[in-house]
Structures are given as structure tokens and as C-alpha cells.
């Protein structure tokens, strides 16, 4: 899956989790940009992303993520490994 398509799918996950259909993400989007992106919703977000992309992310990896770009790269690594 190319990262652009992945970003679009991930945006849907963001919209679901934060219950906000106006959220637009790019690689630089971080917790500072989305008001409700606290540690609680971060967990919900990662788990929803795991389900949406059918990947299993290591807790060590997801704890260190700083922005959407890093999350996209992480998911991309996992989905590419599967193929």
C-alpha cells in the first residue's frame, strides 16, 4: 500500500476515534494539533489503527511516536512485511 493511500485510510481512523469528520491529517500532524489527542485517546487511536490495517504494532514502538508521519511509516513497515 502506498503511503498516500495509507494516510487517507488513517485519516478515517482519526475521524472515527475523535468523532470529528473535519479532521485533516498530514505527516506533521501531532498531538499538539488535535485537542482531544491525549494519552487515553492515543491508545484508542493505535488500537483502532491496528484493526483498520490488520497489523499488530509493538507497544514499544507506538509509545515513542511523535507525529502522524512516524505512525504512517510504522504501519507501512508492517503492511509491507505482510505482502
Amino acid at each position: 500500500m502506498d503511503t498516500q493511500k495509507l494516510q487517507t485510510m488513517l485519516q478515517d481512523v482519526f475521524r472515527d476515534v475523535f468523532d470529528n469528520n473535519t479532521i485533516v491529517i498530514d505527516r506533521n500532524t501531532s498531538a499538539d494539533d488535535i485537542g482531544e489527542w491525549d494519552s487515553f485517546n492515543h491508545v484508542r487511536l493505535i488500537i483502532a489503527a491496528e484493526e483498520a490495517f490488520n497489523v499488530s504494532l509493538s507497544t514499544a514502538d507506538v509509545a515513542d511516536l511523535r507525529n502522524v508521519g512516524e505512525l504512517i511509516d510504522l504501519i507501512a513497515r508492517h503492511t509491507n512485511n505482510q505482502n
Binding site: D19, F40, V43, R44, I47, A48, T59, V62
Partner: protein, 629 residues
Amino acid sequence: MKKQEWYNLSWLPAAPDDFLQRCSGLQSNDAAALQALAMHALSDIQLHKLSKQCEAFSEVPKGLQPLKLGIIGNANSDFLKAALKSSALRHGLWLDVEMGSMGQTVVAVLDPNSNIAAFKPDVVVLALTWQIWSQTILVGHEKEAVAAIENLENDIRLMADTLKKQDTTFIIQTMPQAPISLFGSLDRRVVGTLRRLIDDYNAMVWASGLPVIDVAALAELVGLATWHDAGQWHWAKLPFSQNLIPLYADHVTRTLGALRGRSRKCLVLDLDNTLWGGVIGDDGVEGISLGQGSPRGEAHLAIQHMALALRERGILLAVCSKNEDATARLPFVDHPEQILKESHIAVFQANWKDKASNLEAIAKALDLTPDALVFLDDNPAEREMVRRELPAVAVPEVPDTEPALWPQILSAAGYFEAVSFMESDMARAGQYVANVKRKSLKVESRNIDDYLAAMAMEMKITSFGPNVRPRVAQLINRSNQYNLTSRRYTENQVEAIENDPAAFCFSARLQDRFGDNGIISVVICKEVDNEWYIDTWLMSCRVLGRRVEHTLLNYIATEARAAGKNTLKGHYIATAKNGLVKEHYKNLGFKSTEAKTSDESFWHLDLESFTPFDAPIVLTSQELQKKKA
């Protein structure tokens, strides 16, 4: 349904595709719509969305009981809050939830300044997981291991005493087993191993006499490998795998509902293909599947055993079936394997009226409201109709081809959750039977046109042909109830009719949004004295009340006119089993000609003045047209 996931809310219908839009469109005073949305198998995200909608309600919605719930324990419960709030709607509760700080239990209860104490909860739940102990430290240290449980017991007693004074109900969760062993099979024999500690803790919980939510049993049902997620624990202190939150929340809130008297009180059973396999009116007592000897018969027997066991603990049983009353009672009287008897049934409704109206009558007769009923039926169209007309009735989704799963699905749904059991409960079901008149109740039918229109019914007319001939012959020889003349033909005779130029015959298939019902009708018309004489007209009772007969008549009339006929002639030949269709032709606008006897009657329809019925079924007949062309 995936067989391995039947435990996970499979009894609730799937959420509608437009769930999120419906949530957003909710009026802030429409409690019924809010509750209706909760009655689906919702994901965690959907439960979050619904709980947000709840915030728009400024006061407790009508029909819901307010309840303030505090949760204390050693894990992170924040993730449960929204799911609990939304799941509680299913069980008639308007929940306010407050979570204690992680790891605080006794302090949260005893310290008047804690957020839990300040919240003044109606109910406090203590939720502990195995991670309160380190894994190996107590192995072989009997004193310390015993003390570990005793300390917890003292804490629980202290909390229970304090909460009792505040008139707060204290509920303890049992602790799911750990997914890790130390020795292997030996663990539970060695004091101080994790498994033994958990066993000892749970034994202490049961012995306490306090109300319990048996989360250990839930985790066993799901399977410990699925229940636990070590990664999620280390990362976010989730007490169990996050995707089980909806299931857990339903279990907790159903127990709270039981505390508030919201559990269901009566199980209403369909008969054909529910209590036994097959259709009693067509297959007869000898022909239905019930009892030892066939997997299907055993599966239906297991359903009866489950119903009888529920009755023993005080749940009322009722019957709601589309059948002739006398026919429906036959297996109760004559079938050797039938373990449910008429005396077990508080209300016995077997008639041809819609089931929602019958369920209303049952509730009324038992002095119950519809929200006390559970209705078990194999037919998805009936289930959907009842849900639509009586949303308060619980109607479990069950896989109609696998009755073996029904007892466990019904059990997992927890409709009859109880927080106590006394001897007096056992007598209850019997008392009701004495109170209710044993004759069946009169029922007024309701208008279900809107429902029928929403079913997206499509009828396909096909000529007999070799593909459908065996099924056509089977129907001709098996159908007893919706069968006007009960004429029986062999497969060879059916073939001869197909090829007879003076005969017009077809079979009809019905599809709806639940799937394909297969061939549900067979009609044979024969040209006699320049009229079409309806030699055979039969239908499956499964599609009764859907205006199938109107659609069929429209079609027959069209074809008869095209063949240059002015009249249809109907014939009713009475048998012991087809009283249902005595008025069939009258209801379709035919005029009675010739003298009626109790054995038979003749009917005429004038095609020149016939106006086709407006029926909510789309008709296609490609195959026949092809044949003519």
C-alpha cells in the same frame, strides 16, 4: 456468523450502516431512538459515539432509571466509561460512571475526599486483576500466601461495611485466571502460585456473600488467550484486550440492570424449527425432528431442556407460533421426546395473526410489560418485524441453520441475569399458569404495511422444469396447511403437467433482505370449459402474512387474461389440516358459486372487473417469458 465468536454480542443485530449519521441526527429528547440505537452489536467506537449523544440529554430520559456507578481497582478503567454508559441503555439504565484512581481501592471508599466518595455512588464495583501480585514471590511461602488473601478479604470487609452504611451496593468481580503458569499442571496444588492465588481469591469472593460479577467465567467463555493482552497491559494498563470492551460492558450493565429489577421474566418460544425441527402442520408428529437419534433432533431437544431449566428457576414460558392451535399442541401431547408440556406454558398462542400483536397479548395476560419478554424464533423476518413493532422485546439473533448453538447464545445474552435465587423463585412459573386462563387469547392484528415495504421482497416466477421439479413434487406432497386442494402428484405426474398444453403451472421463489426463502409456492391451473380452474394452489407458511397470495393472484390473472380467459375458478377441499385457507378465495375477492358444503366450496373471480392488488412485492418472471418467446 463466525462460530467462534457467538459469545461476543452475536445475539444483537448488527449496527445499521448509517449508524453514525443516525447518532448525529438524534433529537435530544428522543429516548426511544437512543435506546433503539443501543440495541445493536456496537463496536467500542460506536459506543463512544452513542455516549457522546447522551451528553445532549439534560435530564434522565423517560423510561430509564438513573444509577451512579463507581469502579475501583488496579487497572485503567477510563477506557470503559463510554462503553458502560451506552451499554446500560440496553438494560434500562441511565448510568453516571466515576472511575477511582488506578490502584486505589480501600482509600477510594474510606477517604471522604476521594473522587469516588464525593460522587456518592449507588453501586461500587471492585475490579482486580492478577497483576496485583508479582508472579513468583509467594511460591512455597504458605503463610505469606494465606496472608495475601486475608489482607484482601479484610479490605473487602472494610469497604463493604462502609458502603453498607452509605446505602451503597458493593459488587465484587471475580478474577480471571492468568495466562501464565509456573510449573504447568502442578500450579494449582502449590500454595502461592499465581493460579492458586487467583483460585483462593475467587473462593473468598464467593464466600463473602456479596453480589458478584463473574468476570472469571466471562474470560473462560472467551478464552484466556483472547481475553488477555499483555502488550496493552504494559502500555496502558488495560485489564483485558480492548476489543472485548463492548462485551464486558454489556455484562456489567446487565448485572446492574438485574439489581434494579430490569432482567427479563418470560421466554416466548416459536414452535416450528425452534422447539422442534420441521413444520408440525406439514410433517406431522412422526415427521418432525426432535430427540435422540439425529443431530438436529438433539439440538432442538437441548433447546427444550434449556427452556425447562429456566422455568425451574422461575422464568415464565410462553408459546407464540403461526399454526392451528390444535395442530401446534400435538407434539406437546403425543411426541414421546417432547419434554416441554402444555402445563409448563403460561400462555399458548398458536394462530395466524402477526407475532407482535400476539406478544403484546401475552405480556398483558401475564401482567408484564413487553420489556420483560424474550422472543426466540428461527425466522429472521419474524424477528425483524417484532423488533420493529415492539422494540422493548428482546429478540436474539440466532443462526437459523444451527440450532445447536442457540442454548449457548441465549445464555451468553444474559437476559435472565439474577443477583439472588430463593426457593420462592422456583414456584413462580407454576403460579402464573394457574392464574392465566388456559384458552388462547384473542388478538387484534396490526397494520404492518410499512414493515413489509421495507423488506424489499422480490418474487421470481419460474416454470417447473427439471431443476425445480423435485422441490415442486416435495411441496405438493408435503404441504398440508396452506394448500387449497391437497392434491398429491408424483414427480412423473408433475412432468406430465408441465408438458400438458391445457395446463398453466409455475412455482414462485421469494427473496427478501434476509435472503432467499427458496420456492414458497406452487400453482397449477387447468383449462376447463374455457375457464382456468385452479387445480392446485399451495404456499409455505413461512411467508404467511406477507401478501404473497395477492401477488400470485395478480400474476395468475394477468396470464389468464393474456390467454383470453374471463374467469378463474377456485376450489377449496377441506382436510383436517387446511382450515387456515377456508376463506382464502373469499379474502382474495372471489365469489362463492355453487352450494358450499363443509367438505368443499367453489369460487369464481371475474377477470374483467378484477383490479390487481397493491402488494409490496416486486414480481419477475423472466424464465416463463423466455419460454413463450
